[in-house]
């Protein structure tokens, strides 16, 4: 009767098995440290330009929109506050994660996918290496380390973008930064760092999952890439909803 549910449940199950194996390998030898640093460079340093660009302009546009809305209540001075809270809690993590998902989920899926269809994954196993240890775990560690950092950078660049707009609409720079500083609480910072950490799991593991299960030649690689980006992006939105829900309802009190 529930035949149609079989495939998605199987997918979720396989995904969690992969996640479990990847996590278990974090504490197991051998550690491919070199691969971890290589991935950190690709994922972290490589994503820096787009993260800075999106961060700057999302902060700027946020300041533009908010200052207009706030002017109706005569509260233009609080633009910095709104920009800071929105960026740190939501837009910074989500936009950064979406950018990294578009760039790295797809990159990971296509790289592992082409390795799969050209038998390199099989060769790796035949030559005594666990592909999860060698390929998945370094990408997971690297993403988990770099995404929070990228998010912090995006937050700051965004606030700077906001300050540029604030200066354009004659909000004194000091006032803007004071309201930014006053606005932020510890829970915002925790929330703003926990989100990218969770998104990192989704981005790295979804990319690896779709890459490793690629079949059907180069066409399959294209399919895997698309699926990885779509699923990772959707997961980012789902996760941010639930994490926000947890913080708003005060399950986590800080």
């Amino acid at each position: 009767m529930f035949e149609f549910l079989k495939a998605p449940i199987l997918t979720v199950q396989e995904f969690f098995i992969l996640a479990g194996q990847a996590l278990r390998n974090v504490v197991r030898t051998p550690h491919y440290t070199q691969d971890i640093f290589l991935q950190m460079d690709i994922i972290g340093v490589g994503s820096l330009p787009i993260v800075i660009l999106t961060g700057f302009f999302s902060g700027a546009v946020l300041a533009l929109q908010m200052s207009r809305a706030l002017s109706e209540y005569g509260q233009v001075g609080r633009t910095g506050q709104v920009v800071a809270i929105t960026l740190v809690r939501e837009l910074g993590p989500v936009l950064t994660a979406l950018m990294v998902a578009g760039r790295n989920s797809s990159g990971i899926a296509s790289e592992l996918g082409s390795m799969k269809v050209t038998e390199q994954i099989d060769a790796m196993r035949a030559l005594g290496t666990d592909p999860i240890q060698k390929l998945v775990t370094p990408r997971l560690i690297a993403t988990c380390a770099m995404l929070p950092l990228l998010t912090v950078i995006a937050d700051f660049v965004g606030m700077f973008g906001g300050s540029v707009v604030a200066a354009m609409i004659n909000i004194p720079s000091k006032q803007y930064w004071t309201s930014v500083w006053r606005a932020l609480e510890w829970s915002d910072v925790v929330q703003g760092l926990m989100k990218p950490f969770c998104f990192a799991f989704a981005i790295a593991l979804v990319g690896c999952y779709y890459g490793l299960r690629t079949s059907g030649g180069t066409q399959g690689v294209g399919r895997a890439t698309t699926q990885a980006v779509v699923v990772a992006s959707v997961l980012v939105f789902i996760l941010t909803f639930f994490i926000t829900k947890i913080f708003v309802s005060g399950v986590v009190n800080i």
């Binding site: 050209t118 038998e119 196993r125 035949a126």
Partner: protein, 279 residues
Amino acid sequence: MTPNVTPDLPPPVLKFENVSVSFDGQTALDDVSFEVREGDTRILFGAAGSGKTVLLKAALGLARPDRGHIFVFGRDITLLKESQLSDIRSKVGMLFQESALFDSMTIEENVAYPLFNQKAIHCEAEEGHRKVVDALRFVELENTLAKFPSELSGGMRRRAAIARAVVTAPPLLLYDSPTAGLDPITANNIIALIVKARDASRTTTLMVTHRYQDGNLVAKFRYNLEDGRLEPVAGRDPGFDASTRFMVFKEGRLIFDGPQGELEESSDPYISKFVLKRD
């Protein structure tokens, strides 16, 4: 037809016992049984999709059978977990159909990979480098150490992959279509390398191929260590002939398993398609 089995014979290097493999309900190997003794050579023929690659992968534990047992060096690998297979895998060299060199590594790193990643093999950096250079010299590619696979031609990649398969001097070597898509000169060079690898250390060899000449060369020639070239065996060594057998696969089933003479005389239209009739 079957060789006389005497009790003091060592266990077969590779043995399939009623092995069936399927993917998503589709049968790729259907009840296949055979055994290969130490020093034997097997030539595998079969149409595209007949299950030859799946058979080689099953021998390495890369494809898991639904039914049956596979014994490699006397151990039933169907009972082993992935993490327990590394010991057996370190004794088997495999040339994959698409070469399967790692794109992100140089040729040197590719060939060195089994030396430094097989848990059962301990190799010092210096000794490893020497072995890599030796293996690449063996396939006449010693000048490409620092190149990446994408910078080599198809035939060179195939040779580099052979170097990676033989660098650990494994007692069992599996070659998946080593000559597919190559010109006849390169193809013959590669077969010469395979014969050389086999005869230099009496390696047990399985080779999948689509060209009858390949099988014929492997069955009728041997590598002369003194003058470094292939020479026909032609009746000089009766034991040699018996050590090479041919297998033909059709839709996942093993439909022929026997010596060359028998293969050439077969009247089965499918089997005789693989035989190049010589008059």
